[in-house]
């Protein structure tokens, strides 16, 4: 409240000064105006005219009625002017009061408006200060509720966007750290398993050699046993290979592409890949000049194949449809991949992208597919999430930073950052302070 005093006093002084000056000025004006309106010369002429009417009536008695009528009109006008003359001071005072009230009202209204705007802007600036302090302390879910299009509103929206990006980056960072830990564990497991696996395979081959090719004396049984053990070892080797694949994901080789085109190619190429799955993509959803993204075509295709695999397996004997839809959300290009299968089980939704999470039976899957897919998207500066799931189907949303939007992730992935020199990296387009430059402040 104390901050209001200074502008309030200033406004009151301004209004008072303006009112005094106005009053002094317009008093002179109104005085002249009233004097002019009741000019004595005009009144004298009217009086003379009235006398003339009477004289004329005496000279022309036959037209007395007309002269009398005109005389009465003039006389009435004179009487009215006489009344105005009598009320002149009061009328002048009233006139000045009305004008002064209008003037003071207008100035006061303007002053009040300025005062109100100043108070409001100060309050909004204080909101920005608090939001910036929150942002500096690491809060990321900031909603300032500013909807105005002025400078403060634009700064507020920048702060909101920055906080949202920070939240997204923090989430990505946590996911990357988590996946890195899982990758390290997978690498160690693969390494620890591969050595005894190789030894066991060699010993098995040697045992087969010792038994020879003879028949009888139980040699057939031994060979069958060896074959059985070999098959189990092969299965173990495949699992070990899956560990290795997860642990050593290749670095994405970025290319600037039109995702709409890529999807069109994909749907055409893989149209018959899953007998129970129909692939659909409506091209041109983003208009004639779709935004470009930087992706590794093969890796993105691997993600799409994985999602289609999962959908096909979930459908089991049924047939279904896989829809690919593109949309733009700020600096992100969104690809929704929706199937009409049974949806994702409630029990695994929260940890769907964690490695070794699967709903399939033992030996039918490692549960690494979606973890690898997400890792690929994170390495692209984007993300993969389960957008929606219901008994009518599941929708996965892939987000990728749009090239040239200059608002992409400020946290480069460990792999993608190494390729920044070959193509515009997501991190290189980010403004120095993480604030998008598209919404500039004059």
């Amino acid at each position: 409240m104390s901050r209001l005093w200074a502008p309030l006093v200033a406004v009151v002084l301004m209004v008072a000064t303006a009112a005094i000056l106005f009053q002094a000025f317009q008093r002179q004006v109104s005085k002249a105006w009233f004097a002019f309106a009741l000019h004595p010369e005009a009144i004298e002429l009217l009086e003379a005219s009235a006398d003339d009417q009477r004289s004329l009536a005496r000279e022309h008695p036959e037209r007395e009625a007309g002269y009398r009528s005109r005389f009465d009109q003039i006389q009435t006008l004179l009487q009215r002017l006489s009344i105005l003359e009598h009320s002149r001071l009061e009328m002048q005072r009233r006139y000045e009061q009305v004008l002064l009230a209008l003037f003071v009202g207008t100035i006061g209204l303007a002053g009040g408006l300025v005062l109100w705007r100043q108070t409001r802007d100060e309050r909004r600036l204080e909101g920005l200060r608090i939001a910036l302090a929150d942002l500096a302390s690491g809060r990321t879910d900031l909603e300032l509720g500013e909807r105005r299009r002025d400078v403060i509103g634009r700064i507020a929206r920048m702060i909101e966007r920055t906080s949202r990006r920070m939240a997204r980056d923090q989430k990505r960072l946590r996911s990357l750290e988590n996946l890195s830990a899982w990758q390290e564990a997978a690498r160690r497991h693969a390494h620890e398993m591969r050595t005894p696996l190789t030894g066991a395979r060699l010993e098995l081959e040697r045992l087969g050699g010792m038994v020879g090719t003879g028949e009888g004396d139980g040699a057939d049984d031994v060979h069958r046993a060896i074959q059985g053990v070999r098959q189990e070892l092969d299965r173990l080797a495949r699992f070990t290979q899956a560990f290795t694949s997860f642990a050593r994901l290749p670095r994405p080789s970025m290319q600037e592409i039109d995702l709409d085109n890529l999807l069109h190619e994909y749907v055409t190429t893989f149209a018959a890949a899953w007998p129970n799955l129909e692939l659909r993509h409506e091209a041109g959803a983003l208009g004639p000049d779709p935004p470009q993204v930087a992706v590794d075509r093969d890796m993105l295709r691997q993600v799409l194949v994985n999602l289609c695999d999962n959908a096909s397996l979930a459908l089991e004997e049924d047939t279904g449809c896989m829809r690919f839809g593109l949309s733009l959300a700020g600096d992100q290009l969104l690809l929704d991949v929706a199937d009409d299968g049974p949806g994702v089980a409630e029990s695994v939704r929260n940890r769907l992208f964690e490695p070794y999470t699967t709903t399939r039976g033992i030996g039918k899957g490692m549960g690494l597919g979606l973890a690898i897919c997400r890792k690929i998207l994170l390495d692209h500066g984007g993300d993969l999430e389960l957008f929606a799931s219901s008994p009518e189907g599941a929708t996965f949303r892939l987000s990728l930073p749009v090239l040239g939007a200059s608002t992409t992730s400020s946290i480069p992935s460990t792999h993608a950052s190494n390729h920044a020199s070959t193509l515009t990296s997501p991190s290189t387009d980010t403004a120095a302070d993480g604030v998008p430059t598209g919404d500039s402040v004059p």
Binding site: A50, R54, R68, F71, D72, Q75, L78, Q79, R80, S82, I83, L84, H86, S87, E90, M91, R93, R94, Y95, V98
Partner: protein
Amino acid sequence: MAPDPRAAAAARLRGVAWALAAIFMGLLLAWPARAQVSDGLAPRLELMAGESLVLTDLPPVLGDDEVRRHLGTGLTTSFDFRVRLRAPDGAEVLGFALVEVRYEPWDEVYVLAARGLDGKLVRDLVPTFEVLLEKWRALRLGLLRPRDAEALGRRPPPGELRVELKVIPFSAGEQDDTRRWFSESLDRSSRGGTENVAKSSEDRSEALAEVFSLLMATSIQRTALVSYRWPVPVSAGAPKR
């Protein structure tokens, strides 16, 4: 014992406050004294037994330059006489009489009309100003309603009564007529300048103009042209035959 300086300061302050209050009260009392007080030309008040309190020997107010000049305008000039007195039972009684003079410039005659609260009305056509003065002087205005006169009894009230006269330059009808004419003139002038303006802004402008003309028209007031005040003793008059 030394005087307390704070008490002395407070006493000084009180003194100043009283002085200011006295000046203020003096100004307040002096405010209505703008009216002219004339002692040599006062009218007479007679208590007519069983009739009324009568105002006679009206002073030659009509001869006042300003009043005489105003009479020539043809407007109805009202002479508003008032007197306040106390009845024997302590109730305040208002005495009132009104004289209206209007000059007919075409016929060059004065129309004189006088009436008091006693209900008597005098109307006369007067050919010249000199005759008008005579008629004026001869007027006898009954100031009290009959029941107030009865309540007053035969004994004149002690001391002097204050007789007030206000000369009002025009009648209420003339005031209304001029207000209407003035408003219409303002409205006509404000409408004349908005022919090419859009309808909505024209409506707003007209509404504002109407408010303005109303404010201006209501400033036409029937304020007194001149006022008089006389302290007049009441004398007992002979009953009228």
